[in-house]
Every structure is written in structure tokens, then in C-alpha cells.
């Protein structure tokens, strides 16, 4: 990482630290203060959007570890989220567990399901693994629909809002705080997991599987670990989503979301924790923009009024991914680094 002029790393600890200078600490602090005071000056509508973005960020962090760092491409992430979400809903509603006990179980369950569908990953990769994870999505949803005695099937299941003592996270603002605290923790964990031995093993597997194996990386163990970790994040996100809506239903986890999470990773930048955040935020905002602009366009061109919202959403989503793949395959995170470097060096360009 480029440092401001005059700052030098003199020890290993300094070399490894994420926030190196006081300015960086200050900016982090400012961002956190802004984030946690935002219920004061934003409307409920924006808080809802931010809550959903927070949940998405958690999920995309998981996908980033799995796909961005370990190169095990997964288009079944919404399925793993569903596994977590329904576990939590079943534990809370059918067995009367508190949310705080159900959340770790949901994460664990999603992780185990992830390991199950990650099992073929030792033998297959690339397109084949994509097919296996697509299959995973449909099989998980099918299981949820089949065991309707437990999961409620197509009608779903109530999922009560979490509570501490007599305090229930009922208002938008309180749930916003819950999601944001967990999202910040998830970001912290995601950033640091990839700096451990396991994270370096993931990167070795991504860059060259055979070479990693020759170096002594246990491919099987680390690939399954990547699946487990990635799906644990998905499970947490799924549980949060379900309890946010107060209802768990298979419709909350459509196949298209699985694809869209991968799209977020591409737009944000693969293999970068910042990228996962950038991608989730920017594409969710884009969705919101389409929802706002759709009716306006429909008003101008009445011929397409009926289907404008649905089709424009699809077309913009597709086009954004196409444009990023062609012009900025390394995503917004790379752009962000370039902008930072530019301002660090300004006014001297070299």
C-alpha cells in the first residue's frame, strides 16, 4: 500500500497494520460516527435501504472470501442464505429459542450446507463448480418447499424480531443499529480472515491450484474451509434478512439474487474487502434508482408502461455488469485505489 510521503514502515507490525496513519483513523472514526448517527437525520425509507444494504454487505463478504479469494465461484449464495434464514426462523418460532442463540446456529447450518455442496469442489472447478452451486441453490429451495411441516413450505414461517430482556428491536432505527453492528463486525472479520494463514492459502489456491498443492496447501481442507466461511456469512445475512421482514419465505431468496451477488462482487472488485462493500452499496443504490426512474420513463413512453419497471431493472443490471467486465474488470475498488494514489501524489504526477 502506498503511504503518504514522509511515512515509512519501520517494523513488521507497522507493515501489517490496516490503518497506518492518524488521518486514516480519523476518517474511519468519522465514517463510523456518521453511520451510527444516521437514524437521526435520515427518513425511514432510507434507513430501510441502508439496513438491506448492510445485510447484503455481510452476504457479499462471504462470497468474496469464497469467490474473490479462493476462486471457488458460487452462484448459489442466495440458497445458502435461505438455509441460514430458515434455520433461524424454525428455531425461533417452532422451538422458541431466542434470536441470539438461533443466529449462531443459522450461521453454522449454512456453513455445513456450504461444506456439503462444496464437497465436489476438489474434483471440479470453473464452469463445473458454477453448475454445482446453481444446482445447490435449487436443491436447497426445493428442500425448504418439501419439508413444509417444519419450514412452512411456500407460505413460509414467522420470524420474530430479536429482543434483549424487555427491549424488542421493533423500530427501523433499532434494527438498523443491529444490522450495522453485525455488518461492521463482519467487515472486520472478513478483512482479517484473509490476512491469516488460511487466507494466504486461499490466495495460493486462487492463483494456482497445482502450485499451491505442491507447496503443501491442503487443497481439500482449505477449499471446504472457504465454503464454510463464505456460507457462514451468508447464513448470518439470511437470518438477519428473515428477522427483518418478520417472515421467512422461499421468495425472499430468488435465484436471481445469487447471480446478482456475484455481479456486486464484479462491480466492486474481486478479492478486496472494500470491493465487496463498494459493490453491494453501488448496485443496491442502482436498484433503488431504477425503482425511482422506472415510473418516470413509463410516463414518458406509455407503450412500455406496464412492463417498464421489471424490464428496465433487468436491462440496467445486465448492462452494468457488461460495462464493468469490459472496461473495469478489477472493479470499483481498483478505481478507488487509483483515485487515492492520484490525490496522494498530487500535484506531482510521478
Amino acid at each position: 500500500m502506498a503511504l503518504p510521503s514522509g511515512t515509512f514502515n519501520q517494523s513488521y507490525a507497522q507493515d501489517m497494520t490496516i490503518f497506518r496513519t492518524k488521518t486514516q483513523w480519523l476518517m474511519l472514526l468519522a465514517f463510523l460516527v456518521f453511520l451510527f448517527t444516521s437514524p437521526l437525520y435520515f427518513s425511514d425509507r432510507i434507513l430501510t435501504l441502508m439496513t438491506i444494504i448492510g445485510i447484503t454487505v455481510i452476504s457479499v463478504h462471504g462470497l468474496n472470501i469464497l469467490t474473490g479469494y479462493c476462486n471457488q465461484i458460487s452462484i448459489g449464495h442466495a440458497g445458502f442464505m435461505a438455509a441460514g434464514g430458515f434455520t433461524s426462523a424454525v428455531l425461533c418460532t417452532k422451538l422458541g429459542w431466542p434470536f441470539w442463540a438461533a443466529l449462531p446456529c443459522a450461521a453454522l447450518m449454512a456453513g455445513l450446507v456450504g461444506i456439503l455442496f462444496g464437497l465436489p469442489s476438489l474434483r471440479i472447478k470453473g464452469f463445473y463448480l458454477i453448475m454445482a452451486t446453481i444446482a445447490a441453490h435449487f436443491i436447497i429451495i426445493w428442500f425448504i418447499l418439501q419439508f413444509h411441516d417444519i419450514t412452512g413450505g411456500i407460505f413460509g414461517l414467522a420470524a420474530p424480531r430479536p429482543e434483549i430482556g424487555s427491549f424488542v428491536f421493533k423500530s427501523k432505527a433499532s434494527y438498523f443499529y443491529l444490522v450495522m453492528i453485525i455488518a461492521c463486525m463482519a467487515t472486520f472479520v472478513a478483512k482479517n480472515i484473509v490476512r491469516t494463514k488460511a487466507g494466504r492459502a486461499f490466495i495460493a489456491i486462487r492463483d494456482n491450484e497445482l502450485a499451491a498443492e505442491v507447496m503443501g496447501v491442503n487443497l481439500w481442507a482449505y477449499k471446504l474451509l472457504a465454503f464454510f466461511l463464505g456460507c457462514v456469512f451468508a447464513g448470518v445475512a439470511g437470518a438477519l434478512l428473515v428477522h427483518y421482514y418478520g417472515w421467512a419465505s422461499p421468495d425472499q431468496f430468488p435465484f436471481f439474487n445469487s447471480v446478482w451477488y456475484l455481479g456486486m462482487l464484479i462491480v466492486g472488485g474481486m478479492g478486496s474487502t472494500m470491493g465487496a462493500i463498494f459493490g453491494a452499496v453501488s448496485l443496491k443504490l442502482l436498484d433503488e434508482l431504477v425503482i425511482i426512474l422506472g415510473p418516470m420513463i413509463a410516463a414518458v413512453v406509455p407503450a412500455i408502461a406496464a412492463q417498464a419497471a421489471a424490464s428496465l431493472g433487468l436491462i440496467t443490471r445486465g448492462l452494468v455488469i457488461i460495462i464493468f467486465l469490459i472496461f473495469e474488470p478489477r472493479g470499483l475498488a481498483h478505481r478507488w485505489e487509483m483515485v487515492k494514489a492520484y490525490y496522494r501524489l498530487w500535484p506531482f504526477s510521478h
Binding site: 464437497l119 474434483r123 470453473g126 457488461i322
Partner: protein, 296 residues
């Protein structure tokens, strides 16, 4: 027994749909090593084009077919030139995401233009229903079989005996060697996308004429990947045989096992995906595909 045979026959016609989608997929894969998730969407677009030309413009069948093929050629060329060519040399994920994005755009366009409704043009195409005893063979089966056989025959001759076909196979083998032999790789890529589009659109028109067309038709494309994997991803013949096997298996499994399942089944929707997992675990290169050998 009649129930079983009827299941087999309707499964067979379903298998033909799978096989037609799988063929288009295999052609692109054979030439440019690109995994085309959007193949099912080509079929859907084809169905809607058939509706436009046959019903909206009242064109005769032959003219509609030609017009649809013309559109397919343009579509294939545009897709290859605008979206796939910039990605040459990029990792597998980029190409797959590109075709997924393409699929999304095509779905959006179809919704925009045709309203995403169920359209049908029964009776404009010849529909023949064979009756053997108590069994009735639906027209989709017959048309499916005919089109598949003709398509496969043409493609086999093309890939085996024509210069262009040989060039395409050689490109799949090794791009650089082919370039040094004076073959233009970009033309080969463009041609493969055009062929896949045309095959997709033709099968879409036929399917639409038999059972109508709707956006859901594109989702058949996802299931058709089970066929591709089972048959081996680089074998056209394998795609057809696997298509039949899978269509029949899916229908028979759904027919017999659905009543036993708690929520009334829906097994037909996931059966191909279960097959995908099984094939991937036990025989990743499929029934007729070539096993990949990896070198450092």
C-alpha cells in the same frame, strides 16, 4: 404400463428441448471455450420472434423462418463483437458472468418488447399427433426429433468435411497454432455465436409453435446444463443422447415419486440439478466427453 410409456414419451419430447438447447451450448464451447449461460434465452427470443413474424406480421412460415434466422445472425454477430471479443484472454468467470449479464439483458428486452406474456401461435406450424394404441405422441416430440436429427446431421457434416468446420474444431484445440496456420480466429468465434443463435432461434420457433412461448422458457436453459454435463461438454452426439435420457428420467421420476413426497413433489424442477451434482461428483467429464488432463 400405459402410464409408464406415456411418461417416457412426454419425457422424450422434453429431452429433445433440452438437447436442442444443449447443442447450441456445445457449439460455442467447442469453438471458443466460452460457457454460454444465455443459450436458453436465445430459444426464448426465437419463440417470440416466431410470434412477431407469424402472428403480428402475418408472414408465411418459410418467410418467418428466414426472417428469424436473419435476426439471429445479426444478434449473434452483435453479441460476439460487442461483448465477448473484449474478453478474450480473461478468466473463465468473466466470460460466464458476461453471458449471465447477456441473459439478463435479453430477458429484460423480451419483457420490454413482448410484455413477458404467454404467447401462442398454434396451428400455424404443422401439428401432427400420432396415435399408437392408447398412446398419443405429441407433435412437440415429432418436431423435436426431426429438428434435432436434421441439425445434428448438418453440424456433423459441417464439422467433419468442410474447411470452415475443421477450422472451428482446430481453434478449439489451440488458438495460437491455428492463427499461425492462417485462420482468422475472430471469424471463427463470430461464426460459432451465429450458429448457436440460429440453432437457438429455430428451436424456439418450433417450440413456440407447439407449446407457446413465455419468459419461463429461458429457465429451461438452466436445466439443459444438466444435459450438457451428462453428455460431456464437448460432444454434440452426447448432448442428444443425454437429453433423451434426462428428459425421460425426469418425467418418470416425477410421475412415480412425486405422489410419495410430502409437499406433492415438484421433483421435475430439481431433478436435473440432482443429476448435475451426481455427474459432477462421479464423472465430471460426462458420458461422452473427453477427460481433461491438467499440466502445470
Amino acid at each position: 404400463m400405459t402410464f409408464f410409456l406415456q411418461l417416457v414419451i412426454s419425457g422424450f419430447s422434453l429431452g429433445m428441448v433440452y438437447a436442442l438447447i444443449a447443442i447450441g451450448f456445445v457449439i460455442i464451447l467447442k469453438c471458443s471455450k466460452a460457457f454460454n449461460i444465455a443459450q436458453g434465452h436465445f430459444v426464448m427470443i426465437g419463440g417470440y420472434l416466431g410470434f412477431t413474424f407469424l402472428v403480428t406480421f402475418h408472414l408465411p412460415v418459410w418467410a418467418s423462418l428466414l426472417a428469424a434466422i436473419a435476426v439471429a445472425i445479426v444478434m449473434g454477430l452483435l453479441i460476439e463483437r460487442l461483448t465477448l471479443r473484449p474478453l478474450v484472454g480473461q478468466p473463465v468467470l468473466a466470460v460466464i458472468m458476461m453471458t449471465i449479464a447477456l441473459a439478463t439483458v435479453l430477458e429484460g428486452l423480451a419483457t420490454l418488447i413482448w410484455g413477458g406474456e404467454y404467447k401462442t401461435y398454434h396451428g400455424l406450424l404443422p401439428t401432427i399427433t400420432l396415435k399408437i394404441g392408447e398412446l398419443s405422441i405429441p407433435p412437440s416430440t415429432l418436431i423435436g426429433i426431426m429438428v434435432s436429427i436434421v441439425t445434428v446431421a448438418i453440424l456433423m457434416i459441417f464439422f467433419r468435411y468442410t474447411k470452415r468446420g475443421l477450422a472451428m474444431r482446430a481453434t478449439a484445440e489451440d488458438e495460437q497454432v491455428v492463427q499461425s496456420a492462417g485462420i482468422k480466429v475472430t471469424t471463427v468465434y463470430a461464426l460459432s455465436w451465429v450458429i448457436a443463435c440460429v440453432v437457438g432461434v429455430i428451436s424456439g420457433i418450433l417450440l413456440g409453435g407447439v407449446s407457446g412461448v413465455q419468459i419461463i422458457l429461458a429457465n429451461v436453459g438452466l436445466k439443459a446444463f444438466a444435459v450438457v454435463l451428462l453428455g460431456g461438454i464437448n460432444s454434440i452426439g452426447g448432448a442428444i443422447i443425454a437429453g433423451m435420457i434426462l428428459g425421460i428420467l425426469e418425467n418418470v421420476a416425477a410421475g412415480y415419486l412425486d405422489p410419495l413426497l410430502p409437499a406433492g413433489g415438484g421433483l421435475a424442477d430439481v431433478f436435473p440439478f440432482i443429476i448435475i451434482i451426481i455427474v459432477l461428483v462421479f464423472r465430471p467429464h460426462g458420458l461422452f466427453g473427453l477427460a481433461e488432463i491438467e499440466r502445470i
